[in-house]
Each structure stands twice: as structure tokens, then as C-alpha cells.
Symmetry: C2
Subunit: 266 residues, 2 copies
């Protein structure tokens, strides 16, 4: 089974490494195989590699995946195609509009503080959920993509809709925390740039996500704006409410106790 | 030199353990000494212990420190007194109003995910800043408290004012992140309680502070409301601005790049 990975970053390279490691016929030469499995679309030679593949994995930022589907739709129409984009509705809709017959949207819940191929790890996906959005794809295509996901140690989670439920949940558990971490770090930095030396582990934990790559997040947020926007407004309202009631011990306690109960579930 | 520690929590017990460890004359019996050094005000017998002490350390939540200063001001007037409260203006003002002649406000920048004496550690303060706010205390009192702080491995940082600068910086690097982490966890939990299983390391990091004890934070925020409130309003404004511009890639990128630059300074 030949798998072509289009996309040169952390996810694409980690997938290549994980697949190479899982291939018992080629363990001795895993590293070289992993490198060869990666087709970098930017080098201008993906056409032949895609044509010969059984599964094509678009492992790029959301905007790049949308562009690849658009530009290479002829080539992708008759092969099993999946992707690793962080939002699913826009990509699944684009694949359908482009006439991809065997497109199974995908999103591995895996990442690292630093992206890029130099941080790729064969164990990146182990025990992690990997969402799949078949949305009408043929059962054999879904089975093959699921098998690939399981092969790298991830848990396939099949979504029954066109990606709306996935995007709604991600807005809450991923996109909101990301925006909050970046906005918080920007405000703290503006207010106390000269005093950041006094910050403790609390600020470091709370703003760790502010180290994420800006270019990846532009298209994630643009393709999930309708789901993320009301949550950001709700949080802004809550911060104003707390700000105006900092002297109200009962209100502060109620918020902290509720938050503590939810946090204990993570 | 006899040091009486008033307060039964993580900080007070860690200080007792650290002092016992540093006392080369009593290393063999460090654990028992540490336990004996702790005077728990709630047990009703602090009077004699305070009376015999060279330094009294009030290691309790801010509201408890304010109450102890008020209730025991006669006893504390003629001894060196310091504290470990997370805000300084209210406590320093209360000590002055109560006529404490040798009060040196203090705040160790140390803590742990879980509080309580059962999580106390002798190395809790090592290499950590420990703010001191003498505000007119006699030089020998400041020197003795500084020596105690250095003895447990912390770095004494002397503040030249009555605590306003300390409280302003803490509002930015500590109190704002704490409120944000709790409010974020509350909003995410309300929006996606059934889907928290899908959260990754990002949400866990961003909301780790939501595990903090609510009762401690009531009085921290109440005694620093004027410094924390405008920051919370600024952040709420920023979240609204981002929410309304999620489709604006340039704006998202500018915020994320600015946040990333500040975060790299931590």
C-alpha cells in the first residue's frame, strides 16, 4: 500500500516516520523510507507521486489544503484522499465541490510546542484521537484510512456529519484556549514587559500556546469563525463581570469552584 | 534565632522544612524540628510562641494575615514580623495602622499545583524571588528577614515603596492569568462539558491554574482589585476585537506574532 504525504511539516513528517516504523518489511531502513514517503508539494513534483499512490494524505495548514484540493482536483479525483487539517467543514465542502470521490477528512489530535519537520516524532500520534469525517466516502476508503490511522497508534474517531460537530467541539477545547493564550500574553507583555522576569510557572503554563505558529492559525480561525466567535464574546462578557465584581468574594469563589470542577475532568 | 511561623499551609510548612534543613545544628532531627517550628494560630496557643520568637512569619492567606495583625497587634508590636501574602499594599498598611514597629512585608514567588501542608517541600523557595517591602522598618529587621529568606535558598528582592509596584506587577503576571484560566475553564466546560475528553495538552496547560484554591484567591483579588480590573477590561476588549476579526488574517497574525515575541521572553 503506497501512501503519499503532501506537506512538509511536523504532522506530515511524523506520519511518515510512524508509518515507516510500523512497516515490519522495512524496519532496517526506516529513516530513509520515511524521508522518501514525503512528497513536498512546494518542490513542484507531486504529480507522479500522487498518481502512483493508494492513499494521498494532505498534511498541511488548512489554507494550503484548500489550495491543493483546488489546484490538483483532477489528479485527486480517483484516489483515496485524506487530510490533517484542524478544521473540517471547509475542507470537506471543498473536496466535495472539487469532485473528490473518495475523500475522508481527517484531524489527528496531536501536536508539539514547536512545529516543523525537525521536531517530527514517530510516536506523535500514539493513543491520540484522530477524527475522520467520511461524509459519503465509499466504505472501503474509510476502512483504508482508518487502518492507516490505527497503524500509527492513533484512535480513529468517525464523525457522522460533514464536520460541524468536530468544528464546534474544537472551537471550545482548542481554538478558544489558543486565542486566549495569545491575547493574554499580548496584554501582559504590553502591561509589564520590563517585569516578565518575575513571572512564575502559572503565566508560563497559561500562555504556552502563544508559541504556536501564527500562519497556521490564520486559516484555522478563518474557517471556524462562526463557532469560535460566540465563545470569545461569552468569555469577554465573563471577564468584564469578574472585573466589576473583584470585591465580591462569593462571586469569585463561585467562578473558581466551577472552573476547578471542570478542570478536574481533564 | 527563633522563628515562629503562623499558618498551617503549603508555604508555612515548606518554610519550616527549609529552615530546618538549613540549620546545620539540628539536621539529624530536621523533620521533628520543622513540625515544632509551626505555630498554628487556629489551635489557639500562638501567644506564648510569638512572645518568645525573634521573627514571626505570618504565612496564611491575605484575609487571615489581615485578621491576625488586627487581633494580635499588641503581641506583634515589639517583634520582627513578616508575612507571605500575595498582595502587599493592604497588609503593609494594616501593619502600620496596627502600630507594628518592625514589620517587613514579604511575598515568596513560589507555589505548587496543590496546596496544603501535605505538599510542603524544603526546596520550594530555591532560586525563587522573595519580595520584601520594608516601608520604613528598622534596617536590622530588614537584614534579619533578608537573611532568613536567603537561608531557604530564595533571592530577596527589596521593594522601595509601600507595595504598589509589587501589586501592579503581580496583577499582570499572576492575578490576570489566574482569573483568565478560571474563566476560560468555566466557559469551555459550559460549552463542551461532554466533550472534554477530546481536549489536548493545550487546554490542560492553559487552564492548569484553574486548580488553584478558591478561598485563597478571594482576598488576593479583593486587595488588588484596582490593579487587576483595568487589565481584565483590556483583555475583554481584545477578545472582542479578535472575535469580530477572525476572518482578518493580518490582524490575527499581528496578535499571534506579538504574543509569540513576548512569550519567548519568559
Amino acid at each position: 500500500m503506497s501512501i503519499a504525504i503532501v506537506g512538509p511539516g511536523l504532522i506530515g513528517h511524523s506520519l511518515a516516520l510512524a508509518l515507516a516504523r510500523s512497516d515490519s518489511n522495512a524496519r532496517a531502513d526506516a529513516a530513509r523510507q520515511a524521508a522518501e514517503a514525503v512528497v513536498e508539494i512546494d518542490r513542484g513534483d507531486p504529480v507522479e507521486r500522487i498518481r502512483g499512490a493508494r492513499i494521498v494524505v494532505l498534511a498541511a495548514p488548512v489554507d494550503a489544503i484548500l489550495r491543493i484540493i483546488d489546484e490538483h482536483c483532477e489528479l485527486l479525483r480517483d484516489v483515496i484522499v485524506t487530510d490533517t487539517g484542524s478544521t473540517k467543514r471547509a475542507i470537506v465542502a471543498a473536496a466535495h465541490a472539487a469532485g473528490l470521490r473518495a475523500f475522508v477528512g481527517g484531524h489527528p489530535m496531536a501536536g508539539a510546542e514547536r512545529g516543523g519537520r525537525e521536531n517530527a516524532r514517530a510516536d506523535l500520534f500514539e493513543q491520540r484521537p484522530w477524527f475522520l469525517v467520511p461524509h459519503g466516502a465509499p466504505p472501503d476508503a474509510v476502512a483504508e484510512v482508518s487502518a492507516m490511522v490505527a497503524r500509527v497508534g492513533a484512535r480513529p474517531v468517525i464523525c457522522s456529519d460533514e464536520g460541524a460537530e468536530h468544528d464546534r467541539v474544537m472551537a471550545a477545547v482548542s481554538h478558544l484556549p489558543q486565542v486566549v493564550a495569545s491575547a493574554l500574553m499580548a496584554i501582559v507583555g504590553d502591561a509589564a514587559a520590563a517585569d516578565l522576569q518575575w513571572a512564575g510557572a502559572g503565566l508560563r503554563d497559561t500562555t504556552r500556546l502563544a508559541l504556536s505558529a501564527p500562519d497556521i492559525w490564520e486559516s484555522i480561525l478563518a474557517t471556524n469563525a462562526d463557532a469560535a466567535r460566540p465563545l470569545l464574546h461569552t468569555l469577554a462578557d465573563e471577564l468584564r463581570r469578574v472585573a466589576d465584581g473583584l470585591d465580591d468574594g462569593a462571586a469569585v469563589r463561585a467562578l473558581f469552584e466551577k472552573a476547578g470542577r471542570y478542570r478536574a475532568l481533564l
